[in-house]
Amino acid sequence: MSDKPILEVRHLSKNFDANGVLKDVSFAMKEGEVIVVVGPSGCGKSTLLRCINGLERPDGGEILLDGQRIDTGADLVQVRRQVGMVFQSYDLFPHMDVLGNLTLGPVQALKRPKPEVEAEAEQALARVGLAEKAKSLPRQLSGGQKQRVALVRAMLMHPRLLLLDEITAALDPEMVREVLNVVLDLAREGMTMLIVTHEMRFAEAVADRVLFLEGGLVLEEAPPKQFFHHPQTERAQQFLNTFEFDAVR
């Protein structure tokens, strides 16, 4: 772990977006760090992630990757080769088998030799328990399996930073675990990740730091123990309370 920040976000703002607005968001993350962003829906979490890999153009502020501005319409293709992203809806390519999905980026974008990438892809599939699915089509997989493939697809680009946007939100509860285990493994291996999630127990387990976003502002930034057990702001307390149920009788 070096002390130089891998990603720096300074006074980021984005208006009039369907997924919420960002007013003034600043934070920095170091190599190997895992930051979890939580907050009520419409608080701008997804917009933040989409701005970082250039799917949305910010209206103000700066985003730096390894000290370089990346929000100025610089070479977005180059940026995205270093910043991986996985979505809630998996978005595997339906017309290609699993192996085709995994190798497309490394072979076409990074121009790596196909046999080498295929070998690596098969190893990676085995590690997430999908060794026998290499030749399957996406529609033959369960949601949890699709999402694990999507994670492997992003990882095979060897990104400097991985963005995960509510990757378990569309999954049946029993499949959430198998996907989150993969993410926990990645964290253990030192992958730098910025994660948006509604799984609070998972957030507490995986995060080095938690950002609490509301109304487009960072209201709280704290280590997970402190945030989940002693939230400082009233809004964060209220937010965490929505995950509790009162007994009926």
Binding site: L76, R80, G84, M85, F87, S89, P94, G105
Partner: protein
């Protein structure tokens, strides 16, 4: 029914069917090319070309082929542009078909989920690679039924070429009716000829469409 008559003139129909098929095939291929160009000009919002493509599509889709043909064959020579009947037919068919193919391809492109494009971007593909490996294969799969319907439509439309003195199926039938008054036989052979031409095309496309559907191409894969 006069079987001798039918036998005697079958070769004429076969020859005419060959002409119909040849012009139809050339027209369909050129239509796909023109359609693809128009579709891409609009998809990538190329200035000027985009407007020209849109105007052309509206013009071609909202006017009959027969009128387009009369303009090309009887009108243009009067101002010094002389095209052979066959050239007129191919030009007219391409003018009409290009617009329909452009629309079929566009609806194919639009049916590809935006998230697919974003996914392609997220694994670092350039816009061109994204189009080639991710978007286009899915768009074409979705567009197959519409392209097939257009192909059949265009072959059917060739029947008006007899009006500009092209010796196609319709022309032969009209000739035989005029010369021998064998209306029943001439019309029967005409109908059979078109069925023989178009049934295989129709069946081939519906089989292809079914195969694509079972392969699970196109459509959204979101959710389950």
């Amino acid at each position: 029914m006069d079987m001798d008559f039918i036998q005697r003139f079958t070769p004429m129909y076969v020859k005419a069917a060959g002409l119909t098929l040849r012009i139809g095939a050339i027209g369909i291929l050129l239509s796909l090319a023109v359609g693809a160009l128009c579709c891409l000009a609009r998809w990538y919002r190329v200035p000027v070309l985009k407007q020209i493509a849109s105007a052309y599509i509206e013009l071609a889709r909202n006017t009959p082929l027969l009128v387009q043909l009369f303009f090309l064959y009887f009108g243009l020579p009067k101002v010094g542009v002389k095209l052979s009947a066959e050239a007129c037919a191919i030009t007219g068919l391409t003018f009409l078909g290009g617009a329909y193919m452009a629309e079929a391809l566009r609806s194919g492109l639009e049916a590809v989920d935006r998230a697919q494009t974003e996914s392609g971007m997220c694994i670092g593909l350039t816009p061109l690679q994204n189009m080639r490996f991710v978007i286009l294969p899915q768009a074409l799969a979705t567009a197959v039924p519409a392209i097939g319907a257009n192909a059949i439509f265009l072959i059917k439309e060739t029947s008006v070429f007899s009006a500009v003195a092209l010796a196609d199926l319709m022309y032969v039938a009209k000739d035989l009716i005029g010369m021998y008054y064998k209306t029943d036989e001439a019309l029967l052979m005409l109908t059979v000829a078109y069925l023989t031409l178009l049934l295989p095309v129709s069946i081939a496309f519906s089989l292809w469409e079914r195969r694509l559907r079972y392969a699970g191409f196109g459509g959204s894969v979101q959710g389950q």
